[in-house]
């Protein structure tokens, strides 16, 4: 097992290197560059030489391969460099946003679990009844309604009917749990509903499948009480695919809540990403892509571990 873990961890390195190289190249072909944007952005008169000077300052005058080597070299020493837009260290800029994004992702996942596991199980047990149809419609609707639209409607309802708005600045949960939850619960609901959809469907089909397995039939035949069958056997085994789905989604939530963060004015990774792209803040975009990829790969790995732990039948070489 240890060997497997080490192997998997080592395998992350080439993938991440590939991600780094890909995003680096993509960014260099992006039209427009950060320095010109900074000046032209507000229509001011900036002399050619000032622009050249600033480019040199950011190291953008060096050949591309050199920039790449410098960047990767820095990362190897865990130095992610500074944001080209603000000049502050990237780690600092990201750390501020990461707490919010991770907390929101956790909350949304929690919402998704709370919705999906009971609903999915119920739907499976009452397959093809009106309840099943209702759950399916409810979950498919969750996939269909754009969460940014849900967010817009939410905010409008708050402001029109309650003249109230969730706090617009982030307070850490450790500092003030109430203010923290007041801000994050709404986007967590909007996003969690959407993400519950996939998990509900997964739970439903997983439970259905497990219910058809021989050992459940045996248990039922032995006259075990329905509830015991369900919790002891069916749910536990149905959990595997559900955990996989939830884990993967959690990974996407950390960096992928681009539109929702914008609607709710959340200072998270997704918003930072959109801004960094539109500002052509190369170092920032590179680091963010690397971060989200890392989270994704790492969560993937954790999911595999959990699966192996839950199901002894899964054996890895």
């Amino acid at each position: 097992m240890t060997r497997y873990i080490v192997q998997r961890l080592l395998l992350m390195i080439p993938t991440l290197l590939g991600v780094a190289a890909l995003v680096f190249l993509l960014l260099r072909v992006l039209p427009g560059d950060i320095v010109e944007l900074k000046y032209a952005g507000s229509g001011t008169f900036a002399p050619r030489q000032a622009i050249e000077r600033e480019k040199a300052q950011l190291g953008l005058d060096k050949p591309v391969w050199r920039q790449f080597v410098d960047w990767i070299g820095g990362i190897a020493r865990l130095d992610f460099g500074t944001s080209m837009w603000t000049g502050r260290p990237i780690t600092h800029e990201i750390a501020i946003r990461l707490e919010l994004s991770i907390e929101l992702a956790l909350m949304a996942t929690l919402v998704a679990v709370l919705i999906s596991v009971p609903l999915g199980t119920l739907a499976a047990l009452r397959q093809d009844t009106w309840l099943d149809y209702f759950v399916r419609i409810f979950s498919i609707a969750g996939l269909a309604i754009p969460s940014f639209w849900l967010g817009i409607i939410m905010i409008l309802v708050f402001i029109i009917y309650f003249h109230w708005l969730p706090p617009l600045t982030f307070t850490s949960f450790r500092v003030n749990p109430k203010a923290n939850l007041q801000q994050l619960i709404w986007p967590a609901l909007a996003v969690g509903y959407r993400y519950s959809a996939v998990a509900t469907r997964m739970t439903r089909s997983a439970v259905l499948e497990v219910l058809r397995e021989d050992y459940i039939r045996t248990a039922r035949a032995k006259g075990l009480w329905e509830k015991v069958v369900l919790t002891r056997h069916a749910l536990k085994n149905a959990l595997l695919p559900v955990i996989t789905v939830l884990g993967l989604e959690f990974a996407f939530l950390v960096g992928g809540l681009v539109v929702t963060e914008q609607v709710f004015n959340l200072n998270g990774i997704g918003k930072l990403f959109v801004e960094a792209i539109s500002q052509r803040d190369y170092t920032m975009v590179q680091s963010l892509v690397l971060l989200t990829s890392f989270v994704f790969i790492f969560v993937n790995f954790l999911v595999d571990l959990v699966n192996a732990w839950l199901d002894p039948r899964i054996r890895y070489q």
Partner: protein, 539 residues
């Protein structure tokens, strides 16, 4: 026609003395009530400051949170734009007879937030950095000070600017809100220190900055005006998107947003706040123009460009668009209502500014036909993918051109590719914009100069007549003489050549909570943001 230089100098001196020697009026709140002390002002900012260095940045998102920490040499009178008064400089200054030497006295007893005295040494270091930036230091507005030969500080409380030639806009440029006074010792050690740190002499001391979230400051007890500022603290919340920004003001989480909202937001805010809402409005020194690629066929033909401007019904646009967007005022190259603006009776004579749109469209069609442009001719209009007011204006303009038989594709781009394409001439026509901190021909005309002279001109034409007119007006301190040249310039740009033409100027609407007092809207969202006169009416 041209006045002699000697005359000009005399006029310059008298004019400047007359205007600026007058003592400043005592500053009063908009309601003229007795200001109260204390409280926190929370305001929303629609962006985030890139670096903290005012000399290098160009966005209001840097100015709004940072201006309260700094002083400038001169400033616009917060209650009486465009009047210019002293800030760290005293309100009286002298200009030599030849109009080339400007001498300012620095107020005594001004202290930086670290407790040290602010002297002429600091002012000199600041302006040296702006005008003659050392290697590796960026200065965004360096070009506006091309006339400055040298800066001297003969004694701790005197600063002297030597110019190479007479400049009508020099004093106004010293009132630039971007030119924060920095401390000489810090600049000497690290000229880039101010990009990441804050240390000024303004009414508020820096407290905290959470990137992407908020910025806070507290009252400077040693501010040189003993009775200012009124507020204890301020907090700027960064909200990039319009909808949550409006919601912030409506919910009271922010009391004001200084840049300005469009009429829809204004209506929502007023409806929610009821009697507690105050709306301040002003024309804005911002405009949108159509820029045409004069290198491309058939746009190299002035008749085609003229047809394009003729087709746009600005008067109807003003009526319709002002209800849904920031676009409002019909004007030429100067802000309508400003001292340089062309009166309406003259303006309507320019192509496309007439009130009979049917006649204009007929003329436009005839011009296109004469130039050999077929009916249904198709080209693209490049635009920034910003809703307000760019997209709105793009939609309107395309619809107007459709009505003279042109089939125009709208291409909305991110800022990066947009500027890239404009700069490289990779476009047919584009919606372009300009926003300045004051009404000043030297600033507003810059983008119409020959492309080889002005990086702001994306029209790819070179026109020596315009360049010459620009240089002449820049040195004229006699207003009437200057206006005459300005008219010639304007007529050539908008009417005769139609290189680039204005669609509308913006309206600045700032709806806010009535408890915010002592702040007066100006035609620029860049000026008057140091918050020193702002107070809260506490209940």
């Amino acid at each position: 026609m041209r006045p002699t230089l000697r005359n000009a100098r005399l006029l310059a001196v008298t004019a400047l003395l007359l205007v600026f020697v007058l003592p400043p009026r005592p500053i009063m709140g908009a309601q003229a009530a007795k200001p109260t002390y204390g409280g926190e002002l929370v305001f929303a900012v629609g962006g985030t400051p890139p670096s903290f260095d005012g000399h290098r940045e160009t966005t209001f998102a840097m100015l709004h949170p940072l201006a309260p920490h700094y002083s400038t040499l001169l400033r616009f009178d917060p209650q009486a734009y465009p009047k210019i008064v002293g800030d760290v400089a005293e309100d009286k200054w002298t200009v030599s007879r030849d109009g080339l030497t400007y001498t300012f006295k620095i107020r005594k007893g001004i202290k930086f937030h670290d407790g040290s005295d602010l002297t002429s040494k600091d002012v000199k270091a600041t302006y040296d950095k702006i005008i003659f930036p050392p290697e590796g230091v960026a200065s965004a507005r360096q070009a506006s000070y091309g006339v400055v030969k040298s800066i001297e500080a003969p004694d701790p409380y005197t600063i002297v600017f030597q110019l190479k030639q007479i400049s009508a806009s020099f004093i106004a440029n010293l009132a630039s809100p971007w030119n924060f006074i920095y401390k000489a010792d810090i600049l000497a050690k690290d000229p880039r220190w101010y990009e990441k740190n804050v240390m000024g002499s303004g009414p508020f001391v820096f407290v905290e900055h959470v990137p992407g979230s908020y910025w806070t400051g507290r009252k400077n007890p040693n501010y040189f005006m003993k009775d200012r500022p009124y507020l204890d603290t301020f907090k700027a919340i960064f909200i990039r998107d319009t909808a949550p920004r409006v919601a912030a003001v409506r919910s009271g989480q922010a009391l004001i947003e200084f840049r300005g909202f469009n009429p829809a937001a204004q209506e929502d805010i007023v409806r929610t706040l009821g009697k507690e809402a105050v709306v301040q409005e002003s024309p804005w020194i911002c405009n949108l123009t159509v820029t045409i690629n004069a290198e491309k066929k058939p746009f190299n033909d002035p008749r085609v460009r003229r047809a394009l401007t003729l087709a746009i019904d600005r008067w109807n646009a003003s009526k319709a668009l002002s209800k849904i967007s920031l676009m409002k005022y019909v004007g030429g190259v100067f802000r309508p209502g400003s001292q340089f603006a062309t009166p309406e009776s003259e303006l309507v004579k320019y192509a496309g500014f007439g009130k009979n749109i049917e006649a204009s469209r007929k003329e436009a069609r005839a011009l296109l036909k004469a130039a050999g442009v077929p009916d249904g001719f198709s080209f693209t209009l490049k635009n920034r993918n910003v809703k307000e007011p760019y997209e709105v204006t793009g939609i309107y303009t395309i619809d107007q051109w459709r009505q003279i038989g042109l089939n125009v594709n709208h291409v909305m781009q991110e800022e990066g590719p947009y500027f890239n394409d404009l700069r490289q001439g990779n476009y047919d026509a584009a919606i372009d914009f300009a926003c300045d901190f004051m009404d000043e021909p030297d600033l507003q005309l810059q983008k119409f100069l020959s492309a080889k002279k002005s990086p702001l001109n994306y029209g790819r034409y070179n026109d020596e007549v315009l360049d010459d007119l620009y240089d002449r007006q820049s040195r004229l301190t006699d207003k009437a003489e200057r206006l005459k040249i300005l008219r010639q310039f304007e007529k050539r740009v908008l009417d005769e050549q139609a290189y680039q033409f204005h669609i509308l100027w913006w309206q600045r609407i700032v709806p806010h909570w009535s408890k915010v007092q002592g702040w007066k809207v100006t035609p620029s969202h860049y000026v008057n943001q140091d918050l020193r006169d702002v107070y809260l009416k506490l209940y």
